[in-house]
Protein backbone atom coordinates (compact mmCIF):
# COMPACT_ATOMS: atom_id res chain seq x y z
CA UNK A 1 0.00 0.00 0.00
CA UNK A 2 1.32 3.42 -0.89
CA UNK A 3 -0.23 6.85 -0.52
CA UNK A 4 0.05 9.03 -3.58
CA UNK A 5 1.05 12.61 -2.87
CA UNK A 6 0.58 15.08 -5.75
CA UNK A 7 3.07 17.94 -5.81
CA UNK A 8 3.60 20.79 -8.34
CA UNK A 9 6.11 19.60 -10.89
CA UNK A 10 8.22 22.73 -11.34
CA UNK A 11 9.23 26.19 -10.24
CA UNK A 12 9.11 27.97 -6.92
CA UNK A 13 5.96 26.21 -5.84
CA UNK A 14 7.74 22.84 -6.13
CA UNK A 15 10.87 24.07 -4.34
CA UNK A 16 8.90 25.62 -1.49
CA UNK A 17 6.83 22.45 -1.15
CA UNK A 18 10.02 20.35 -0.93
CA UNK A 19 11.36 22.79 1.72
CA UNK A 20 8.11 22.63 3.71
CA UNK A 21 8.15 18.81 3.89
CA UNK A 22 11.96 18.86 4.43
CA UNK A 23 11.55 21.01 7.56
CA UNK A 24 9.67 18.07 9.12
CA UNK A 25 12.28 15.53 8.08
CA UNK A 26 10.44 14.29 4.99
CA UNK A 27 12.75 14.65 2.08
CA UNK A 28 11.11 15.01 -1.35
CA UNK A 29 13.34 15.08 -4.39
CA UNK A 30 13.34 14.73 -8.13
CA UNK A 31 15.37 11.90 -9.53
CA UNK A 32 16.82 11.09 -12.92
CA UNK A 33 17.53 13.80 -15.48
CA UNK A 34 16.24 17.37 -15.24
CA UNK A 35 13.57 16.63 -17.78
CA UNK A 36 12.33 13.36 -16.37
CA UNK A 37 9.33 13.65 -14.06
CA UNK A 38 10.40 11.07 -11.50
CA UNK A 39 10.67 11.63 -7.77
CA UNK A 40 11.59 10.02 -4.48
CA UNK A 41 10.49 10.30 -0.85
CA UNK A 42 12.79 9.73 2.11
CA UNK A 43 11.93 9.89 5.79
CA UNK A 44 8.61 8.05 5.58
CA UNK A 45 7.70 4.72 4.02
CA UNK A 46 4.88 3.98 1.63
CA UNK A 47 4.41 7.50 0.28
CA UNK A 48 4.81 7.93 -3.46
CA UNK A 49 5.40 11.31 -5.06
CA UNK A 50 3.38 12.24 -8.17
CA UNK A 51 4.61 15.32 -10.02
CA UNK A 52 1.74 17.24 -11.64
CA UNK A 53 0.86 20.69 -12.85
CA UNK A 54 -0.61 22.66 -9.90
CA UNK A 55 -3.72 23.32 -12.00
CA UNK A 56 -4.39 19.57 -12.42
CA UNK A 57 -3.99 18.60 -8.78
CA UNK A 58 -7.58 19.63 -7.81
CA UNK A 59 -9.00 17.39 -10.55
CA UNK A 60 -6.81 14.42 -9.55
CA UNK A 61 -7.85 14.81 -5.89
CA UNK A 62 -11.54 14.99 -6.84
CA UNK A 63 -11.19 11.88 -9.01
CA UNK A 64 -9.54 10.02 -6.16
CA UNK A 65 -6.45 9.23 -8.23
CA UNK A 66 -4.16 10.77 -5.60
CA UNK A 67 -4.63 10.62 -1.82
CA UNK A 68 -3.13 14.00 -1.04
CA UNK A 69 -1.98 16.98 -3.02
CA UNK A 70 -0.35 20.40 -2.73
CA UNK A 71 -1.90 23.23 -4.69
CA UNK A 72 -3.29 26.76 -4.29
CA UNK A 73 -6.51 27.08 -2.30
CA UNK A 74 -7.79 29.33 -5.12
CA UNK A 75 -7.35 26.56 -7.71
CA UNK A 76 -9.32 24.05 -5.63
CA UNK A 77 -12.22 26.48 -5.21
CA UNK A 78 -12.18 27.53 -8.85
CA UNK A 79 -11.88 24.10 -10.43
CA UNK A 80 -14.11 22.01 -8.15
CA UNK A 81 -17.83 22.59 -7.64
CA UNK A 82 -18.79 21.89 -4.01
CA UNK A 83 -15.06 21.56 -3.33
CA UNK A 84 -15.48 20.81 0.36
CA UNK A 85 -17.38 17.63 -0.47
CA UNK A 86 -14.38 16.39 -2.43
CA UNK A 87 -11.28 17.47 -0.50
CA UNK A 88 -10.29 18.43 3.03
CA UNK A 89 -7.70 21.07 3.87
CA UNK A 90 -5.04 19.36 5.97
CA UNK A 91 -2.68 22.30 6.39
CA UNK A 92 -2.12 25.77 5.01
CA UNK A 93 1.57 25.85 4.10
CA UNK A 94 2.41 29.53 4.56
CA UNK A 95 3.71 30.31 1.08
CA UNK A 96 2.35 31.07 -2.37
CA UNK A 97 0.24 33.85 -0.90
CA UNK A 98 -1.92 35.72 -3.40
CA UNK A 99 -5.22 37.58 -3.25
CA UNK A 100 -7.96 37.19 -5.82
CA UNK A 101 -9.23 40.74 -6.29
CA UNK A 102 -11.51 42.78 -8.53
CA UNK A 103 -9.98 45.95 -9.97
CA UNK A 104 -11.41 48.86 -11.94
CA UNK A 105 -9.76 51.81 -13.71
CA UNK A 106 -8.24 54.29 -11.28
CA UNK A 107 -10.09 57.06 -13.13
CA UNK A 108 -13.40 55.60 -11.90
CA UNK A 109 -13.26 57.87 -8.85
CA UNK A 110 -16.93 57.12 -8.17
CA UNK A 111 -16.33 53.38 -7.75
CA UNK A 112 -14.94 52.05 -4.51
CA UNK A 113 -17.08 49.03 -3.54
CA UNK A 114 -19.04 46.18 -5.15
CA UNK A 115 -22.11 48.28 -4.46
CA UNK A 116 -20.73 51.01 -6.72
CA UNK A 117 -19.73 48.43 -9.32
CA UNK A 118 -23.29 47.14 -9.44
CA UNK A 119 -24.74 50.63 -9.93
CA UNK A 120 -22.19 51.41 -12.63
CA UNK A 121 -22.92 48.11 -14.39
CA UNK A 122 -26.59 49.07 -14.69
CA UNK A 123 -25.76 52.52 -16.10
CA UNK A 124 -23.08 51.10 -18.40
CA UNK A 125 -25.46 48.55 -19.89
CA UNK A 126 -28.13 51.20 -20.47
CA UNK A 127 -25.58 53.46 -22.18
CA UNK A 128 -23.52 50.97 -24.18
CA UNK A 129 -26.06 48.26 -24.89
CA UNK A 130 -24.07 45.38 -23.46
CA UNK A 131 -23.23 44.05 -20.01
CA UNK A 132 -20.12 45.46 -18.30
CA UNK A 133 -17.21 43.12 -19.03
CA UNK A 134 -14.94 41.72 -16.33
CA UNK A 135 -11.86 39.90 -17.65
CA UNK A 136 -10.76 36.89 -15.60
CA UNK A 137 -9.76 33.27 -15.56
CA UNK A 138 -11.45 32.70 -12.17
CA UNK A 139 -14.98 32.31 -13.49
CA UNK A 140 -16.56 30.28 -10.70
CA UNK A 141 -15.05 32.23 -7.79
CA UNK A 142 -15.91 35.61 -9.28
CA UNK A 143 -19.42 34.61 -10.35
CA UNK A 144 -20.22 33.21 -6.89
CA UNK A 145 -18.78 36.29 -5.19
CA UNK A 146 -20.74 38.72 -7.36
CA UNK A 147 -23.95 36.73 -6.93
CA UNK A 148 -23.52 36.71 -3.15
CA UNK A 149 -23.14 40.48 -3.24
CA UNK A 150 -26.07 41.04 -5.60
CA UNK A 151 -24.10 42.46 -8.51
CA UNK A 152 -25.99 42.23 -11.84
CA UNK A 153 -25.63 43.37 -15.45
CA UNK A 154 -22.03 42.23 -15.83
CA UNK A 155 -20.42 39.53 -17.98
CA UNK A 156 -17.25 37.55 -17.48
CA UNK A 157 -14.88 37.46 -20.43
CA UNK A 158 -12.18 34.85 -20.38
CA UNK A 159 -8.62 36.10 -20.05
CA UNK A 160 -5.82 33.60 -19.56
CA UNK A 161 -3.00 36.15 -19.45
CA UNK A 162 -2.10 39.85 -19.59
CA UNK A 163 -5.47 40.41 -17.90
CA UNK A 164 -4.46 43.85 -16.54
CA UNK A 165 -4.08 45.11 -20.11
CA UNK A 166 -7.66 44.35 -21.16
CA UNK A 167 -9.12 47.63 -19.88
CA UNK A 168 -6.70 49.80 -21.81
CA UNK A 169 -7.29 47.63 -24.87
CA UNK A 170 -11.03 48.12 -24.36
CA UNK A 171 -11.83 44.42 -24.35
CA UNK A 172 -13.04 44.68 -20.74
CA UNK A 173 -14.14 47.38 -18.28
CA UNK A 174 -12.78 45.70 -15.14
CA UNK A 175 -10.55 42.77 -14.22
CA UNK A 176 -10.53 40.01 -11.60
CA UNK A 177 -7.16 38.41 -11.02
CA UNK A 178 -4.61 37.12 -8.55
CA UNK A 179 -2.16 39.65 -7.16
CA UNK A 180 0.46 39.60 -4.43
CA UNK A 181 1.82 43.15 -4.47
CA UNK A 182 -0.61 45.01 -6.73
CA UNK A 183 2.34 46.36 -8.73
CA UNK A 184 1.07 45.27 -12.16
CA UNK A 185 -2.38 46.67 -11.40
CA UNK A 186 -0.98 50.09 -10.49
CA UNK A 187 1.23 50.11 -13.57
CA UNK A 188 -1.89 49.57 -15.67
CA UNK A 189 -3.84 52.37 -13.94
CA UNK A 190 -6.15 50.02 -12.08
CA UNK A 191 -7.27 50.07 -8.44
CA UNK A 192 -8.52 47.29 -6.18
CA UNK A 193 -12.10 47.52 -4.89
CA UNK A 194 -12.49 48.03 -1.14
CA UNK A 195 -14.09 45.40 1.05
CA UNK A 196 -11.35 42.76 1.05
CA UNK A 197 -10.24 40.19 -1.53
CA UNK A 198 -12.58 37.65 -3.10
CA UNK A 199 -10.27 34.93 -1.79
CA UNK A 200 -6.96 34.91 0.09
CA UNK A 201 -5.06 32.08 -1.47
CA UNK A 202 -2.01 30.13 -0.33
CA UNK A 203 -0.39 26.79 -1.05
CA UNK A 204 -2.30 24.16 0.91
CA UNK A 205 -1.95 20.44 1.59
CA UNK A 206 -5.24 18.75 0.69
CA UNK A 207 -6.57 15.28 1.39
CA UNK A 208 -8.98 13.64 -1.06
CA UNK A 209 -12.40 12.52 0.20
CA UNK A 210 -12.93 10.55 -2.98
CA UNK A 211 -10.36 7.82 -2.29
CA UNK A 212 -11.44 4.62 -0.56
CA UNK A 213 -9.23 5.01 2.48
CA UNK A 214 -8.25 1.56 3.75
CA UNK A 215 -7.09 0.91 7.31
CA UNK A 216 -3.49 0.71 6.02
CA UNK A 217 -3.89 3.99 4.12
CA UNK A 218 -5.13 5.69 7.25
CA UNK A 219 -2.19 4.40 9.25
CA UNK A 220 0.23 5.89 6.73
CA UNK A 221 -1.71 9.18 6.74
CA UNK A 222 -1.61 9.27 10.56
CA UNK A 223 2.13 8.70 10.47
CA UNK A 224 2.59 11.45 7.90
CA UNK A 225 0.44 13.91 9.82
CA UNK A 226 2.31 13.13 13.01
CA UNK A 227 5.62 13.93 11.34
CA UNK A 228 4.20 17.12 9.84
CA UNK A 229 2.64 18.15 13.18
CA UNK A 230 -0.82 18.37 11.66
CA UNK A 231 -3.67 18.06 14.18
CA UNK A 232 -6.72 16.50 12.61
Amino acid sequence: MTLKLGVPSKGRLMEKTFDWFGASGIELSRTGSDREYAAAVNGIDNVELVLLSAGEIPRELAAGRIHMGVTGSDLVREKLGAWDEKVIELAPMGFGHADLIIAVPKCWVDVNTLDDLDAVAAAFRAKHGFRLRIATKYHRLIRDHLRDHGVADYQLVDSQGATEGTVKNETAEAVADITSTGETLRANHLKILAGGPVHKSQATLFKSRKVDWTVEDRAILDELCRKLHIDR
Binding site: G81, A82, E85, P105, K106, C107, W108, V109, D110, N112, T113, D115, D116, D118, A119, V120, A122, A123, F124, K127, H128, R131, H139, R140, R143, D144, L146, R147, H149, G150, A152, D153, Y154, Q155, L156, V167, K168, E170, E173, H189, A194, G195
Partner: protein, 367 residues
Protein backbone atom coordinates in the same frame (compact mmCIF):
# COMPACT_ATOMS: atom_id res chain seq x y z
CA UNK B 1 -37.37 7.95 -9.78
CA UNK B 2 -39.67 6.62 -12.46
CA UNK B 3 -38.09 5.49 -15.69
CA UNK B 4 -38.04 7.75 -18.70
CA UNK B 5 -40.57 5.88 -20.83
CA UNK B 6 -43.18 6.12 -18.06
CA UNK B 7 -42.40 9.79 -17.51
CA UNK B 8 -42.93 10.43 -21.22
CA UNK B 9 -46.33 8.71 -21.13
CA UNK B 10 -47.30 10.74 -18.05
CA UNK B 11 -46.14 13.94 -19.80
CA UNK B 12 -48.17 13.04 -22.89
CA UNK B 13 -51.26 12.61 -20.71
CA UNK B 14 -50.91 16.21 -19.43
CA UNK B 15 -50.16 17.49 -22.92
CA UNK B 16 -53.33 15.83 -24.21
CA UNK B 17 -55.30 17.47 -21.40
CA UNK B 18 -54.07 20.94 -22.43
CA UNK B 19 -54.66 20.20 -26.10
CA UNK B 20 -58.22 19.10 -25.33
CA UNK B 21 -58.74 22.46 -23.64
CA UNK B 22 -57.77 24.32 -26.79
CA UNK B 23 -53.97 24.67 -26.71
CA UNK B 24 -51.83 24.39 -29.85
CA UNK B 25 -48.97 21.97 -29.28
CA UNK B 26 -45.56 23.49 -30.04
CA UNK B 27 -41.94 22.30 -30.05
CA UNK B 28 -38.73 24.09 -29.08
CA UNK B 29 -35.08 23.49 -29.95
CA UNK B 30 -32.94 21.92 -27.25
CA UNK B 31 -29.95 24.07 -28.23
CA UNK B 32 -30.69 27.72 -27.45
CA UNK B 33 -28.39 30.65 -28.26
CA UNK B 34 -26.57 31.46 -25.03
CA UNK B 35 -26.51 35.20 -25.61
CA UNK B 36 -30.27 35.67 -25.27
CA UNK B 37 -30.39 33.75 -21.99
CA UNK B 38 -27.29 35.52 -20.63
CA UNK B 39 -28.75 38.92 -21.43
CA UNK B 40 -31.98 37.95 -19.68
CA UNK B 41 -30.72 36.17 -16.59
CA UNK B 42 -27.17 37.46 -16.32
CA UNK B 43 -23.97 35.54 -15.74
CA UNK B 44 -25.62 33.45 -12.98
CA UNK B 45 -27.40 31.33 -15.60
CA UNK B 46 -24.01 29.84 -16.52
CA UNK B 47 -23.95 28.16 -13.13
CA UNK B 48 -27.46 26.80 -13.63
CA UNK B 49 -27.50 25.82 -17.30
CA UNK B 50 -25.39 23.50 -19.43
CA UNK B 51 -23.24 25.61 -21.71
CA UNK B 52 -21.83 24.19 -24.88
CA UNK B 53 -19.97 25.54 -27.85
CA UNK B 54 -19.80 25.06 -31.58
CA UNK B 55 -17.32 26.88 -33.85
CA UNK B 56 -20.16 28.06 -36.14
CA UNK B 57 -23.18 28.30 -33.85
CA UNK B 58 -21.14 29.94 -31.09
CA UNK B 59 -22.05 29.51 -27.46
CA UNK B 60 -25.26 27.60 -26.80
CA UNK B 61 -27.18 26.36 -23.81
CA UNK B 62 -29.25 23.22 -23.41
CA UNK B 63 -32.69 24.76 -22.86
CA UNK B 64 -33.13 25.51 -19.14
CA UNK B 65 -36.84 26.15 -19.73
CA UNK B 66 -39.39 26.48 -22.53
CA UNK B 67 -40.55 29.97 -21.68
CA UNK B 68 -38.01 31.89 -23.74
CA UNK B 69 -38.28 29.85 -26.96
CA UNK B 70 -42.08 29.75 -26.76
CA UNK B 71 -42.26 33.55 -26.27
CA UNK B 72 -39.86 34.06 -29.19
CA UNK B 73 -41.88 31.77 -31.41
CA UNK B 74 -45.06 33.61 -30.47
CA UNK B 75 -43.48 37.01 -31.12
CA UNK B 76 -42.25 35.85 -34.52
CA UNK B 77 -45.47 34.38 -35.82
CA UNK B 78 -48.23 34.17 -33.25
CA UNK B 79 -51.63 35.85 -33.45
CA UNK B 80 -53.45 36.75 -30.25
CA UNK B 81 -55.06 35.41 -28.26
CA UNK B 82 -52.97 32.25 -28.27
CA UNK B 83 -52.74 29.17 -26.07
CA UNK B 84 -49.72 26.86 -26.35
CA UNK B 85 -48.79 23.55 -24.78
CA UNK B 86 -45.48 21.74 -24.95
CA UNK B 87 -43.53 18.89 -23.38
CA UNK B 88 -39.91 17.82 -23.28
CA UNK B 89 -36.71 17.72 -21.29
CA UNK B 90 -35.16 20.76 -19.66
CA UNK B 91 -31.58 20.78 -18.43
CA UNK B 92 -30.36 22.36 -15.21
CA UNK B 93 -26.84 22.13 -13.92
CA UNK B 94 -27.53 21.58 -10.24
CA UNK B 95 -25.55 23.06 -7.47
CA UNK B 96 -23.56 19.93 -6.69
CA UNK B 97 -24.50 19.96 -3.03
CA UNK B 98 -28.20 19.62 -3.81
CA UNK B 99 -28.07 16.30 -5.62
CA UNK B 100 -31.12 16.86 -7.78
CA UNK B 101 -31.84 15.70 -11.31
CA UNK B 102 -30.05 17.70 -13.97
CA UNK B 103 -32.37 16.57 -16.77
CA UNK B 104 -36.13 16.25 -16.39
CA UNK B 105 -39.41 16.58 -18.23
CA UNK B 106 -41.66 19.59 -18.18
CA UNK B 107 -45.17 19.94 -19.57
CA UNK B 108 -46.33 23.50 -19.92
CA UNK B 109 -49.28 25.66 -20.84
CA UNK B 110 -48.89 29.34 -21.80
CA UNK B 111 -51.55 31.93 -22.56
CA UNK B 112 -50.95 35.14 -24.53
CA UNK B 113 -54.07 37.25 -24.18
CA UNK B 114 -53.78 40.98 -23.53
CA UNK B 115 -57.54 41.59 -23.55
CA UNK B 116 -58.32 39.64 -20.40
CA UNK B 117 -55.19 39.18 -18.26
CA UNK B 118 -57.02 38.47 -15.01
CA UNK B 119 -59.19 35.80 -16.61
CA UNK B 120 -56.04 34.31 -18.17
CA UNK B 121 -54.33 34.17 -14.73
CA UNK B 122 -57.31 32.34 -13.28
CA UNK B 123 -57.59 30.04 -16.30
CA UNK B 124 -53.98 28.80 -16.06
CA UNK B 125 -54.16 28.23 -12.31
CA UNK B 126 -57.54 26.48 -12.49
CA UNK B 127 -56.42 24.19 -15.32
CA UNK B 128 -53.32 23.08 -13.45
CA UNK B 129 -55.33 22.63 -10.29
CA UNK B 130 -57.89 20.51 -12.14
CA UNK B 131 -55.35 18.20 -13.76
CA UNK B 132 -53.41 17.83 -10.49
CA UNK B 133 -56.56 17.38 -8.36
CA UNK B 134 -56.09 13.63 -7.63
CA UNK B 135 -52.72 14.35 -5.97
CA UNK B 136 -54.19 16.53 -3.24
CA UNK B 137 -51.46 19.16 -3.44
CA UNK B 138 -51.20 22.37 -1.44
CA UNK B 139 -51.26 25.48 -3.61
CA UNK B 140 -49.36 28.62 -2.61
CA UNK B 141 -49.91 31.90 -4.41
CA UNK B 142 -48.48 35.39 -4.42
CA UNK B 143 -48.59 38.56 -6.44
CA UNK B 144 -45.39 40.37 -7.38
CA UNK B 145 -47.58 43.19 -8.74
CA UNK B 146 -48.26 44.36 -5.17
CA UNK B 147 -44.59 44.79 -4.29
CA UNK B 148 -43.81 46.43 -7.64
CA UNK B 149 -46.67 48.91 -7.17
CA UNK B 150 -45.57 49.62 -3.61
CA UNK B 151 -42.00 50.39 -4.69
CA UNK B 152 -43.17 52.58 -7.59
CA UNK B 153 -45.31 54.52 -5.13
CA UNK B 154 -42.55 55.23 -2.59
CA UNK B 155 -42.03 58.89 -1.76
CA UNK B 156 -38.43 59.02 -2.96
CA UNK B 157 -36.33 59.78 -6.05
CA UNK B 158 -36.89 58.00 -9.36
CA UNK B 159 -33.29 56.76 -9.25
CA UNK B 160 -33.82 55.07 -5.90
CA UNK B 161 -37.03 53.47 -7.10
CA UNK B 162 -35.30 52.22 -10.26
CA UNK B 163 -32.48 50.73 -8.14
CA UNK B 164 -34.99 48.92 -5.90
CA UNK B 165 -37.03 47.66 -8.86
CA UNK B 166 -33.88 46.34 -10.54
CA UNK B 167 -33.14 44.19 -7.49
CA UNK B 168 -36.68 43.17 -6.67
CA UNK B 169 -35.87 39.48 -7.37
CA UNK B 170 -32.69 39.64 -5.23
CA UNK B 171 -34.14 40.03 -1.72
CA UNK B 172 -30.82 40.48 0.11
CA UNK B 173 -29.61 43.22 -2.17
CA UNK B 174 -33.07 44.83 -2.16
CA UNK B 175 -32.98 44.89 1.62
CA UNK B 176 -29.48 46.42 1.71
CA UNK B 177 -30.55 49.18 -0.68
CA UNK B 178 -33.78 49.83 1.20
CA UNK B 179 -31.89 50.11 4.50
CA UNK B 180 -29.48 52.59 2.98
CA UNK B 181 -32.20 54.68 1.30
CA UNK B 182 -34.06 54.71 4.62
CA UNK B 183 -30.96 56.02 6.38
CA UNK B 184 -30.68 52.87 8.48
CA UNK B 185 -27.39 51.67 7.00
CA UNK B 186 -24.16 53.58 6.42
CA UNK B 187 -23.10 54.83 3.00
CA UNK B 188 -20.70 52.58 1.05
CA UNK B 189 -17.06 53.01 2.00
CA UNK B 190 -15.47 56.07 0.41
CA UNK B 191 -18.74 57.73 -0.67
CA UNK B 192 -18.61 60.58 1.81
CA UNK B 193 -14.97 61.35 1.08
CA UNK B 194 -15.70 61.46 -2.65
CA UNK B 195 -18.60 63.87 -2.29
CA UNK B 196 -16.63 66.11 0.05
CA UNK B 197 -14.04 66.74 -2.66
CA UNK B 198 -14.25 69.95 -4.63
CA UNK B 199 -12.83 68.31 -7.72
CA UNK B 200 -13.76 64.64 -7.36
CA UNK B 201 -12.73 63.79 -10.92
CA UNK B 202 -9.05 64.44 -10.19
CA UNK B 203 -6.75 65.82 -12.86
CA UNK B 204 -3.79 63.55 -13.16
CA UNK B 205 -5.48 60.18 -13.50
CA UNK B 206 -5.18 58.75 -17.02
CA UNK B 207 -8.53 58.05 -18.63
CA UNK B 208 -8.63 54.41 -19.77
CA UNK B 209 -11.40 52.09 -20.90
CA UNK B 210 -14.77 52.53 -22.58
CA UNK B 211 -16.51 54.28 -19.69
CA UNK B 212 -16.09 57.97 -20.47
CA UNK B 213 -15.35 60.99 -18.26
CA UNK B 214 -18.89 62.18 -18.95
CA UNK B 215 -20.34 58.93 -17.60
CA UNK B 216 -18.26 59.25 -14.44
CA UNK B 217 -19.30 62.90 -13.99
CA UNK B 218 -22.93 61.91 -14.52
CA UNK B 219 -22.75 59.32 -11.76
CA UNK B 220 -21.12 61.78 -9.35
CA UNK B 221 -24.06 64.13 -10.00
CA UNK B 222 -26.43 61.25 -9.30
CA UNK B 223 -24.59 60.47 -6.05
CA UNK B 224 -24.86 64.13 -5.01
CA UNK B 225 -28.58 64.07 -5.71
CA UNK B 226 -28.89 60.90 -3.67
CA UNK B 227 -26.93 62.32 -0.75
CA UNK B 228 -29.25 65.33 -0.69
CA UNK B 229 -32.46 63.26 -0.88
CA UNK B 230 -34.51 62.70 2.26
CA UNK B 231 -34.54 59.14 3.61
CA UNK B 232 -37.47 56.86 2.82
CA UNK B 233 -39.73 57.15 5.87
CA UNK B 234 -39.81 54.49 8.57
CA UNK B 235 -43.56 54.22 8.00
CA UNK B 236 -43.10 53.35 4.33
CA UNK B 237 -40.46 50.73 5.15
CA UNK B 238 -42.80 49.23 7.72
CA UNK B 239 -45.62 49.02 5.17
CA UNK B 240 -43.29 47.26 2.70
CA UNK B 241 -42.34 44.81 5.43
CA UNK B 242 -46.03 44.21 6.19
CA UNK B 243 -46.62 43.43 2.51
CA UNK B 244 -43.67 41.05 2.33
CA UNK B 245 -44.63 39.30 5.54
CA UNK B 246 -48.22 38.52 4.57
CA UNK B 247 -49.18 34.85 4.99
CA UNK B 248 -52.90 34.27 4.98
CA UNK B 249 -55.67 32.77 2.93
CA UNK B 250 -56.65 34.71 -0.18
CA UNK B 251 -60.03 35.58 1.32
CA UNK B 252 -58.47 37.07 4.47
CA UNK B 253 -55.53 38.79 2.81
CA UNK B 254 -57.78 41.10 0.82
CA UNK B 255 -59.07 42.74 3.98
CA UNK B 256 -55.55 43.11 5.33
CA UNK B 257 -54.37 44.63 2.03
CA UNK B 258 -57.21 47.16 2.05
CA UNK B 259 -55.90 48.31 5.46
CA UNK B 260 -52.36 48.68 4.12
CA UNK B 261 -53.67 50.53 1.05
CA UNK B 262 -55.16 53.24 3.26
CA UNK B 263 -51.60 54.32 4.13
CA UNK B 264 -50.11 53.22 0.82
CA UNK B 265 -52.58 54.25 -1.88
CA UNK B 266 -50.15 53.27 -4.64
CA UNK B 267 -51.09 49.61 -4.20
CA UNK B 268 -54.84 50.19 -4.47
CA UNK B 269 -54.93 49.23 -8.17
CA UNK B 270 -52.92 46.08 -7.51
CA UNK B 271 -55.26 45.15 -4.66
CA UNK B 272 -58.24 45.63 -6.99
CA UNK B 273 -56.64 43.27 -9.47
CA UNK B 274 -55.97 40.73 -6.73
CA UNK B 275 -59.62 40.91 -5.73
CA UNK B 276 -60.86 40.52 -9.30
CA UNK B 277 -58.50 37.56 -9.72
CA UNK B 278 -59.84 35.98 -6.53
CA UNK B 279 -63.36 36.35 -7.93
CA UNK B 280 -62.29 34.87 -11.27
CA UNK B 281 -60.68 31.95 -9.44
CA UNK B 282 -63.82 31.43 -7.36
CA UNK B 283 -65.96 31.35 -10.53
CA UNK B 284 -63.70 28.56 -11.76
CA UNK B 285 -64.33 26.54 -8.65
CA UNK B 286 -61.20 27.46 -6.63
CA UNK B 287 -61.91 27.78 -2.92
CA UNK B 288 -60.29 31.12 -2.03
CA UNK B 289 -61.19 30.67 1.64
CA UNK B 290 -58.46 28.02 1.84
CA UNK B 291 -56.08 29.20 -0.92
CA UNK B 292 -52.76 30.30 0.65
CA UNK B 293 -51.32 33.70 -0.17
CA UNK B 294 -47.71 34.68 0.66
CA UNK B 295 -46.47 38.24 0.26
CA UNK B 296 -42.93 37.16 -0.68
CA UNK B 297 -43.90 34.23 -2.90
CA UNK B 298 -41.85 34.01 -6.10
CA UNK B 299 -39.25 36.57 -5.16
CA UNK B 300 -36.21 34.33 -5.02
CA UNK B 301 -36.86 31.66 -7.61
CA UNK B 302 -39.01 33.30 -10.27
CA UNK B 303 -37.07 36.15 -11.86
CA UNK B 304 -39.17 38.22 -14.29
CA UNK B 305 -42.44 36.94 -12.86
CA UNK B 306 -44.11 40.24 -12.08
CA UNK B 307 -47.77 39.48 -11.32
CA UNK B 308 -49.72 36.46 -10.12
CA UNK B 309 -47.36 33.62 -9.10
CA UNK B 310 -48.15 30.15 -7.80
CA UNK B 311 -46.82 26.70 -7.01
CA UNK B 312 -48.26 23.29 -6.13
CA UNK B 313 -46.57 21.30 -3.36
CA UNK B 314 -46.79 17.75 -2.00
CA UNK B 315 -47.06 18.54 1.70
CA UNK B 316 -46.00 15.11 2.92
CA UNK B 317 -42.89 15.26 0.71
CA UNK B 318 -40.98 18.38 1.65
CA UNK B 319 -37.90 16.79 0.03
CA UNK B 320 -39.45 17.23 -3.42
CA UNK B 321 -39.33 20.46 -5.43
CA UNK B 322 -42.73 21.98 -6.32
CA UNK B 323 -44.75 19.67 -8.59
CA UNK B 324 -45.93 22.61 -10.67
CA UNK B 325 -45.16 26.34 -10.77
CA UNK B 326 -46.23 29.27 -12.85
CA UNK B 327 -47.30 32.85 -13.10
CA UNK B 328 -47.42 36.02 -15.11
CA UNK B 329 -44.18 37.15 -16.73
CA UNK B 330 -44.90 40.35 -18.61
CA UNK B 331 -41.47 41.68 -17.53
CA UNK B 332 -39.76 38.91 -19.48
CA UNK B 333 -41.70 39.47 -22.69
CA UNK B 334 -40.96 43.20 -22.37
CA UNK B 335 -37.20 42.55 -22.22
CA UNK B 336 -37.30 39.97 -25.03
CA UNK B 337 -39.42 42.31 -27.15
CA UNK B 338 -36.88 45.10 -26.67
CA UNK B 339 -33.98 42.80 -27.52
CA UNK B 340 -35.54 42.12 -30.88
CA UNK B 341 -35.93 45.84 -31.41
CA UNK B 342 -39.68 45.41 -31.62
CA UNK B 343 -40.39 47.38 -28.43
CA UNK B 344 -43.55 45.50 -27.74
CA UNK B 345 -45.00 44.06 -24.68
CA UNK B 346 -46.85 40.79 -24.82
CA UNK B 347 -48.75 39.98 -21.65
CA UNK B 348 -48.20 36.31 -20.88
CA UNK B 349 -49.05 33.83 -18.16
CA UNK B 350 -48.26 30.14 -17.94
CA UNK B 351 -47.34 27.18 -15.82
CA UNK B 352 -45.31 23.96 -15.94
CA UNK B 353 -45.77 20.51 -14.41
CA UNK B 354 -42.98 18.02 -13.66
CA UNK B 355 -44.43 14.65 -14.65
CA UNK B 356 -41.73 12.55 -12.95
CA UNK B 357 -42.91 14.05 -9.65
CA UNK B 358 -46.60 13.37 -10.30
CA UNK B 359 -45.64 9.77 -11.14
CA UNK B 360 -43.65 9.43 -7.97
CA UNK B 361 -46.59 10.71 -5.93
CA UNK B 362 -49.20 8.48 -7.61
CA UNK B 363 -46.84 5.52 -7.23
CA UNK B 364 -46.78 6.13 -3.50
CA UNK B 365 -50.55 6.57 -3.36
CA UNK B 366 -51.00 3.17 -5.01
CA UNK B 367 -48.80 1.29 -2.57
Amino acid sequence: MADKARVRIEAARFLQFFEDRGASVVEADILQPAETLLDLYGEDIRARAFVTHDPDFGEAMLRPDFTVPVVQMHMAQGAEPARYAYMGEVFRAQDETKHRASEYFQVGYEVFDRAAPIEADAEVFALLKEVLEPLNLRAATGDMGLLLAAVRGLGTTERRKAALLRHIWRPRRFRALLDRFAGRAPLPEGREALLAKEEPMGRKIPQIGLRSRAEIAERIDALREDAAAAPISAQEVELLDDLLGLRETTANVLEHLRDIAVDMPAIAGAVDRLEMRAEALARRGVDIATLDFEGSYGRTSMEYYDGFVFGFYAEARSDLPPVATGGRYDALTRVLGNQNGARREIPAVGGVIRPELTLELTGEAGQ
